[in-house]
């Protein structure tokens, strides 16, 4: 109402973000239809070929088609971003809501736990969990969930602490609503906006953590096509075959860009800043 210009911009940002992320989602869904080659097929005769008509993004050191690997990689990376954010979001929201709403001892204990996890070196946890469970996506998700919920819990808790004194929350209590009802139906829906916005940048963090893990050699199982591991493995050919790292790298950047745009637009629309 007050700022027509910015509404338009919000819409444009949102659309751009949705187009990018939606494009990747489509590519992932339709991978078998649109990918020109089998992503794990190794063509011994076509190793390390620069981009050409036959291989628009070139081939890697096994002669695998990079375009096809990127398209199939979208499946894994989108899944990583979604699952890597979903569980922390859900766990963090519930814990944060409970801590903020009930306060007292529960809150104190949960806050100390949060302090501990925040102080705990992320890498020790990540590498230990991966070492315990073996490299692979599920270990990655578990590690992300164990650490990631903390940010959401803090966000939600802070929100709930403010909102539980809001008039409509007091009103809900005074109208005889049960505590779970007040918490989950009235307070939570009004406090998740910040978390939803944070989700988007968190998704980027998840992708980058995945890439870092790949760099340390504990990424997904070969020969799965995943962008992070493609960049990490392609490093060896950085100076002679730039295309092996460049295209998967750009895919991460572009997807991250899409997520941030959606996050920006959501943030602006809901009036929250990170």
């Amino acid at each position: 109402m007050s700022a027509p210009v910015s509404t338009q911009r919000v819409n444009r940002t949102l659309i751009a973000g949705l187009v990018i992320v939606g494009g990747f989602v489509l590519a992932a869904l339709a991978a078998p239809l649109i990918a020109p080659y089998d992503p794990i097929f190794q063509d011994g005769a076509a190793r390390i070929q620069s981009p050409s008509l036959a291989h628009p993004f070139g081939t890697d050191n096994f002669g695998r088609d990079i375009l096809s690997r990127i398209i199939y990689g979208a499946r894994v990376d989108l899944q990583m971003a979604v699952i890597g954010v979903f569980f922390p979001l859900v766990i963090g929201t519930v814990i944060g809501a409970i801590a903020g709403f009930f306060g007292g001892l529960i809150d104190a204990v949960l806050m100390r736990l949060i302090d501990i996890i925040l102080a705990f070196p992320f890498l020790v946890l990540m590498l230990s969990i991966i070492a315990i469970l073996g490299p692979g996506l599920s270990s990655f998700y578990i590690a992300m969930a164990l650490v990631g919920w903390v940010s959401y819990a803090r966000l939600i808790r802070a929100q709930i602490l403010v909102l539980k004194n809001a008039d409509y929350a007091v009103a809900a209590v005074s109208l005889g609503f049960s505590r779970p009802r007040v918490l989950f139906r009235h307070l939570l829906p009004n406090s998740v906006a910040g978390s939803l916005v944070f989700c988007m940048s968190d998704a980027v963090l998840v992708l980058l953590s995945g890439a870092a893990i790949s760099y340390l050699g504990l990424g997904v199982q070969p020969p799965t096509a995943e962008w992070g591991i493609m960049v990490a493995e392609g490093q060896a050919f950085l100076s002679q075959a730039w295309w092996i790292t460049l295209f998967p790298g750009l895919s991460i950047v572009l997807l991250a860009f899409g997520f941030s745009m959606i996050g920006d637009a959501l943030g602006e629309a809901m009036g929250v800043h990170e």
């Binding site: 794990i40 097929f41 190794q42 011994g44 190793r47 050191n61 096994f62 991966i130 070492a131 073996g134 490299p135 692979g136 340390l216 050699g217 504990l218 199982q221 070969p222 020969p223 493995e233 490093q235 060896a236 050919f237 950085l238 100076s239 002679q240």
Partner: protein, 478 residues
Amino acid sequence: AGVLTIARNEDSTTFDPIKSAQNVDNWVFSNVFDVLVRVDASGTKLVPGLAESWTISDDGLTYTFKLRDAKFSDGTPVTAEDAAFSLIRIRDDKGSLWGDSFKVIDTATAADPKTLVVKLKGKSVPFLSMMALPNASVLPKKLVEGAAADTFAEKPVGSGAFSLVEWRRGDRIILKKNPNYWDAAKVSLDGVEWLVIPDDNTRMLKIQAGEVDAAITVPFSRVAELKTNPDLKVISDPSTREDHMLINHEHGALAKKEVREALDMAIDKQAIVEAATFGLGEVAYSYVPKGALYHYADNLRRPYDPEKAKKMLADAGASGLTLNYIVNAGKETDEQIAVLVQQQLAKAGVGVTLQKVDPSQSWDMLVTGDYDISVMYWTNDILDVDQKTTFVLGHDTNMNYMTRYKNDEVKALVEAARLETDPAKREAMYVTLQKLAKGDVNWIDLYYSPYINVTRKNIDKFHQNPLGRFFLEETVKN
């Protein structure tokens, strides 16, 4: 003249030779310490080190070493007392990782300041080769004895060509020429710096930028590119490294020799050499590496024939076989080979599930037999083939290198070869062993690969022998 800077991918862990079993440490031990007997540059001969000469008693139980006039870097002379102390220490010290290997020593005594007498508990032909291990270096007794050992590990004093100036952990080891070295006249370099640069790319960029004189463990994928650089020299030295595929003989169909043979035929080693070593390696056909003593060049080479393999598997009742393949995480070539082998075995109708695990864990899985196949490598650290043979074929406590391979004829032969003093007879025995192992497919030999290092153009004589020792006392920086 000048200081040679060498970039490598890992830091040393200690300067106490008995407390390490890693190449990163051994390669620096050889610069700082000296051993009684050395292996020559070709990796095939034992030559005098601190011991000018030695004699072996007829029963093969008493070794008498005559020490040369040498000094430690602090100027004190190297005595037979020091040598005896060092041998007893590596055998008995609580922190020693080599106690088992030196158990064969009964006594080591100084007959006079320059004469060391070692008595063995039993005959052992490989014993002399063991004296060349950098871990068995001669240390100054009075600086190492008792509680001083901890200090010594950080401020070592040796009789090698160089001595330690400073160890900046994680960053570099700074060595300077040891003026007290017995052959100091021959040493051209003023000093050596071993830099730690873990990332392969950075290490290569570092030498390309001219910030170091040499870089070791060059990834095979980089060789072609580095060769085009006129400022650099790419050096390929033969090594005793052999990569092989372990097979768990106790797992189902893998117990059958025909199945293992079929697997051997289903794997295209040449393709692996091309993809993983970029053609720099060579297809392997014996567990004794090329260039090592007693290597048998005419050993059986099964042809690559996936169709035949498929048929053999069917005949053995093992079609539709699925194998659990343990891959060492973080090792680029290992992962490449895994991916390739998976595709090759698929052609022979064998399914492969890759299971990537952290290398420290894969040891446990191999030991407990929780695997079907896995790729490992071995590099000899002594000249004699007995060590590897025992570990791989001799029914050692490690289940023949975790393969659970059992063949009593082979086992007896390994025992006999260890004690055989006649070189010709001994060689024949090892040839037989190589044939038998190949016949049984104890494992699948994959490839031999060289050490690849790179230096700036102005560096000469930067070489490793097949056991890995760098001859920096000969290196010249122009």
